[in-house]
Each structure stands twice: as structure tokens, then as C-alpha cells.
Symmetry: C2
Subunit: 152 residues, 2 copies
């Protein structure tokens, strides 16, 4: 397999990122992938890019976007004023699953968390994705918490 490179996403990656988010059992019910992209995605991209505590990361192979994740760095008072990194929106293109791209994305986020001085990396994973739970457990994450959501 050609080398996989991870980097911050640019506006030019957005079509492919949203296509990945929509090409997913749960994502297909809640995303709206059409070209040109709905403006809501562009607004969100601008907000993420403008925030130094948020990073949108893509995995690329031969200049093609094949994976995505978002990392959020948050300062907290708890744990003696410790920063945390939160990973969200991890997706890998259907055509390249099982090749370790997801592992590379998570390892990259862990490395970024260390660079940013975080004491903890955290994420929530939908209980409808048991294979994702096992994936994160293999990478060292523990399911010590309940992930609770309230839709507005």
C-alpha cells in the first residue's frame, strides 16, 4: 500500500470528507451529501479552522482523502487544571477499511494530545457500533464512563 499521510484538512478536502461521513450506517441517516455541498458544512469547517483548540485531520494516500477525524483540546479545572483531547467523527473510506488507517488516525490524535500537554484522550462511541468499541479497546481506551446525549 502506498504511504498514508496525515495532515490538517483544507477546504478542498471538504467534498470528500462529507462523502465519507454520509457513507456510513448511522451517518447516512443524518448527513446530506450533494454537490455543491450544503453551506452548513462550509460554515462548520470555517468555525473549526478558526479555532486553535480544534483540528480537523485527514488521512491521504496518493493525494486522495481516505480518512478523517476531529480533535478538540479543552482546558479543564479538574485533574489539577488538566487539558484533555477529545476525538470525534472518525471515518475511514469504505474501500480501504481493515488496512490500519483508523489506527493511524487514533495514534496521530494521541501524539497531538501529548504535544499539546493533555493528560487524557477521550471519545464516545455509539453502543450500536460494538466493533468500534473493540477497536478502541485494542488501542488502550477503557470504557469507564457512560456517554450520555440529549438531543435539542
Amino acid at each position: 500500500m502506498a504511504e498514508v499521510r496525515l495532515r490538517e484538512a483544507t477546504k478542498q478536502d471538504l467534498d470528500k470528507i462529507v462523502a465519507m461521513l454520509a457513507d456510513d450506517r448511522l451517518g447516512s441517516k443524518r448527513e446530506r451529501y450533494e454537490l455543491p455541498l450544503p453551506e452548513c458544512y462550509l460554515h462548520a469547517f470555517m468555525a473549526i479552522s478558526a479555532d486553535q483548540n480544534n483540528e480537523l485531520i485527514v488521512a491521504c494516500r496518493d493525494n486522495e482523502v481516505i480518512g478523517v477525524e476531529q480533535i478538540t483540546f479543552t482546558p479543564y479545572l479538574t485533574h489539577q487544571g488538566g487539558w484533555r483531547a477529545t476525538i470525534e467523527g472518525v471515518r475511514v473510506s469504505a474501500s480501504v477499511r481493515g488496512l490500519g488507517i483508523g489506527t493511524k488516525l487514533i495514534q496521530y490524535a494521541i501524539d497531538r494530545a501529548k504535544v499539546r500537554g493533555c493528560h487524557l484522550v477521550q471519545l464516545t462511541t455509539d453502543k450500536q457500533r460494538p466493533e468500534a468499541l473493540q477497536f478502541y479497546q485494542r488501542l488502550g481506551f477503557s470504557a469507564t464512563h457512560e456517554g450520555m446525549k440529549l438531543k435539542l
Copy 2:
């Protein structure tokens, strides 16, 4: 009971906030409450205050701080570029538990999430706190996700 008021925390509230964080079964193992406060808490407070996507909220009664929470607003690409509010570090002073202060804090966070245009309010709660799980369920949260943590 005198009226409970919720507002953004100031630096003058910090001693009392950290005292509350430390006066907790889990918090007592990981916080360091001594006066003057360790500088790490002041640094974290400054980082939170400087970030327009983070709000540290205190509940006060008769000008005494009796509760605290942190709300983080995050832009995401997922859910059609939807913002989320994340609640963390919720604590109520031991002397006033059971009086609805926690409910007021969460309701305040939900209201702030609506003002900020979020589509979702989320939090993780330690599986060692079953009473907290029930508290959040009564307020409408669903434990649809696993909350996974990796200590660095």
C-alpha cells in the same frame, strides 16, 4: 432556601471551586486543594476564560459558591455541521446536596446550548457513579454511547 443564582465564574471564586472539586469521592484522589491554590488551577482558569467556546459556571446563594460546571461549545462537521455543548466537572457543595442545585446547573447548560445553536448536549459520567447516571437520565439524557478514556 434563598434564591440560587447562576453566573460565569470569576477568579475570586476559584478557591471555593477547587475546594468543591476536591471534596468528592473521586476528586479527592486527583485534586490538590491547598491555599494559596497551586498555580495549575489558575493557569487552567485563565485558559478557560480566554476561550469563547468555554464557560465556567457557578451556582451561588447569598453570594456563596455552592455549585460549579463547565460548558464547552464545539463545532463539528457531523450532523450537517452541528455544534454540540459538552458538560463537564459538575459538582455541588456537600452541604446543599439534594436541593436541586445540580438540576439548575444542567438546566442552565441546556439553555446556554440552545442560545448557542447546539443540536446536542452531551456529557460522560463515571460508571462508578450510578446515582449520577440516574440523575442525568431523569433530566432526559440517554446513555447511548460508551465513554472511553485513555490516560497519557
